[in-house]
Symmetry: C2
Subunit: 213 residues, 2 copies
Amino acid sequence: MRLITRWQNSAGERVRIALRLKKIECEYVPVGTLAPGEYRRLNPQGLLPALDIGGRIVAQSSAILEYLEETFPVPALLPADPVTRAEARAFAAHITSEMHAITVRRVRRYLGTDLGVDEDHVDRWVSHWLTEGFRALEIALANRATDWPFCFGEAPGWADLHLIPQIENGRRLGVDLMPFPRLLGVEERCNALEAFILSRPAAQPDYPGERLP
Amino acid sequence: MRLITRWQNSAGERVRIALRLKKIECEYVPVGTLAPGEYRRLNPQGLLPALDIGGRIVAQSSAILEYLEETFPVPALLPADPVTRAEARAFAAHITSEMHAITVRRVRRYLGTDLGVDEDHVDRWVSHWLTEGFRALEIALANRATDWPFCFGEAPGWADLHLIPQIENGRRLGVDLMPFPRLLGVEERCNALEAFILSRPAAQPDYPGERLP
């Protein structure tokens, strides 16, 4: 298996964390190392990441993660209880659809370049959707039946691997995270773990700066 | 079980179709019939739909659909082959994240009201993301190993129940669908089926116009 991604690609970071939590061997392929036009031919959606499974290409991190969970079930990233599983998936889907999808770089760029929205208003756009999103996620954690150390369990899983890259993005984009202590608590616990540390943008082989850790 | 939704809610339409394809009994609760503030208390994300499972609330249509697929496995909405399952999920996630999430009403309203983007440019925004999205979906169908009558199989399933509400939305919002004959072919076959016909906005009990069919 090959994961085609890029160091900054935060949907790819979700998959990198999952691969490490499950200890799955998978080649990391920076999209920049492919021939021009090759990626668009492999994945007509054109977005990152994609998983190459013996020549068959799966796009969309949520589809890749479900594939990994079904094919390499141990350790499970989803909780065992059916409704708690659904809560973890809803938490993750809130991040992918309501926060990440509408604030990613290509969307911000389209706002600025094609709609002529000025930089201040683009920042306001990002801050609005991310703050609204984090607020809902914080409440979701407050409402849990059990005050687990990770989002939906004693070990990190599905919701956590979506949350951490989104928190990093929020911080980088200037969102005030102080009102979300539960989210920051989960982040602190995740950031002590190798699967998360090694999946960070700055730890990837194609990171252009000084590589960490 | 209760599905809290609204006639126009196209993420709710996905769930309505799934419930009918699986013949699951589920009460339809129009959100307008709840007491003021009640829905936000039940679902802090505040978005529709939500599934009420004996008092536990699951948000996000993708989480609801995975719950239904796990709990009521027959008939399966996902293909049996692991990679084809992933392809069907990626097709659906492309719709939810890259098309629906960034063109829904609250996003269009925020563009107009809070960012001061004029109506023509909001239309351009919608048309851009939906046309890009449909183009990727059309190629995904063209690239299938088998030319199935539905997106990923001989029977309608996961990808189809995401596609049909999105095609309706695209048409309503003025997107030219003629360049996407494979998508329109799937739509025609789905629209002959009761599960799709009875799940349409105009067939819901809270539809304000003359109810169809």
